[in-house]
Amino acid sequence: MRSIIPILTVVAALMAIWYAGAIWMNSKWALDQAERAGVELSLSEIVTDTLAQERPVLPAPHQVVTELWQTTVEKNITSKRSLVFHGWITLSATLLGFIFGTGLGVLLAVGIVYSRAMDMSVMPWAIASQTIPILAIAPMLVVVMNTIGATDFLGKDTAEALFGTQPAFMKGLLPKAVIAAYLSFFPVVVGMVKGLRAPDAMQLDLMRTYSASGAATFWKLRLPSSMPYFFTSLKIGIAASLVGAIVAELSASPIRGLGGRMLTGSYYGQTLQIWAALIGAAVLAAALVGLIGALQRGTLRRMGMKP
């Protein structure tokens, strides 16, 4: 709690820098316009103009907030101009990918912990893969999956039979989810291997003196003691999944989702739209990581561990 005042001070300082930057960076355009119109601007006129431009170089915080308000609350959430609509498209791909990536990651980690051959052959590659920019394959994966026709989650016909119309988020969901899964996969593998190996030799010996079966050792010792590592890697994984989904949206069609908003914004110089999408992505990331953090605290407390 004693950190509240320092944090607020830092945030206030960042805001002040932001406003100063907005005035400074947008003043060139304001002065150009004034010169063309043949008028002299006073200092206060410059300030008011720079903070209210339609396509500012750097939008002021209140402009971004206004834009966010207009595109979330004041728009119908099914509208293609609503940030909630785009946010949901990104979120659905992130979550689907994250669930698959985490599930497969945990399975592989169990395999690695129990099979020495898998450990020796796969683990060096899993660690090495953390140092390479996997995201670079996103555009290719999107195009290849488009070519072979694997783009929609449930085909159009199945979805229409089930829901009447195909929900918007299902269109083009699969490539994004695959990249999101791929990005969350390796952090989970590495974290879970560490976690499943967390019990020390004494504890494993104790299980042996109880003549516990392999399954019992797994469920009652290894899995519970891996939980802190599990949640830590989930936090890394979900953040990576979100980045994966956003970057995949840069090359996906139709151009939608938060990544799509950023891309169209940068095509048409709509800086407010880019900033709104950026803040939307930040809020989404913070909410997802916060949610996992809350799950972590709750689970660990019920298990009697220190969170």
Binding site: A117, T131, K235, L242, L263, S266, A282
Partner: protein, 281 residues
Amino acid sequence: MSWVIGSLAFWAVMTWINFWLANSPLRGTRLVKLFVPAVFGITLLVVWEGLVRGLQVPNVILPPPTAIAARFASSLDILWVDFVQTFVKGALSGYIIGCGAAFLTAVMIDRSPFLQRGLLPVGNFIAALPIIGTAPILVMWFGFDWHSKAAVVVVMVFFPMLVNTVQGLAASDHMQRDLMRTYGASYPQTLLKLRLPAAMPFIFNGLKISTTLALIGAIVAEFFGSPIRGMGFRISTEVGRLSLDMVWAEITVAALAGSAFYGVVAMIEKGVTFWHPSQRS
């Protein structure tokens, strides 16, 4: 069909060899520890080649490794130009500026617990956000050339590096700092002779995390606009032309550059923090 059967047979044999080696008395030796993952990697490549040829997968979906290698060898000049543009100009300069700035900031706020308590949570929070989203904004500000890519990299590596350095500077314990005080050491002396060396494992952790982020930032920023060279540019245009062997060659370069970059930083770490328990095995 013989390609498919052959590659599957190869896979079975190699897996059997790996299992045998991993459970043989030789498993602790250095050679086997390198050999087993190498065999696994080669097996993957052979199975990939065999399945792509055997099932006649079109090149626009998945080219075989030999085609990628041929393309790699025949377009070394293009790959080199892209590498210089993206890695040397974009990623490396941004990495040096970003990590340097974060390090200096951490040292500057070191004497102010107030600023640390404020900056650390904010930095941790920002480090978890999808900062890559600032790429379109920074490309607008700094133009299409490498300057904007370096700027994206600076923003991406700054906060992870800052958080790690601040944590590192707090890593020396009370006894050690008390000892420095009994020596009558001044603040700069304590910083240089005790706290910075003690911070090195944390600082290198930040530097290692940043290597991957730098490369990702430089490549993804190129998707938002770039001159007609660069790894991200090449990937997105060659994908559009469906020449996937070139894309894979470019991805190979990215993977090699990423692991070499990480390896160099890890080697420097080994030299600097030779005293740390994690390095003394």
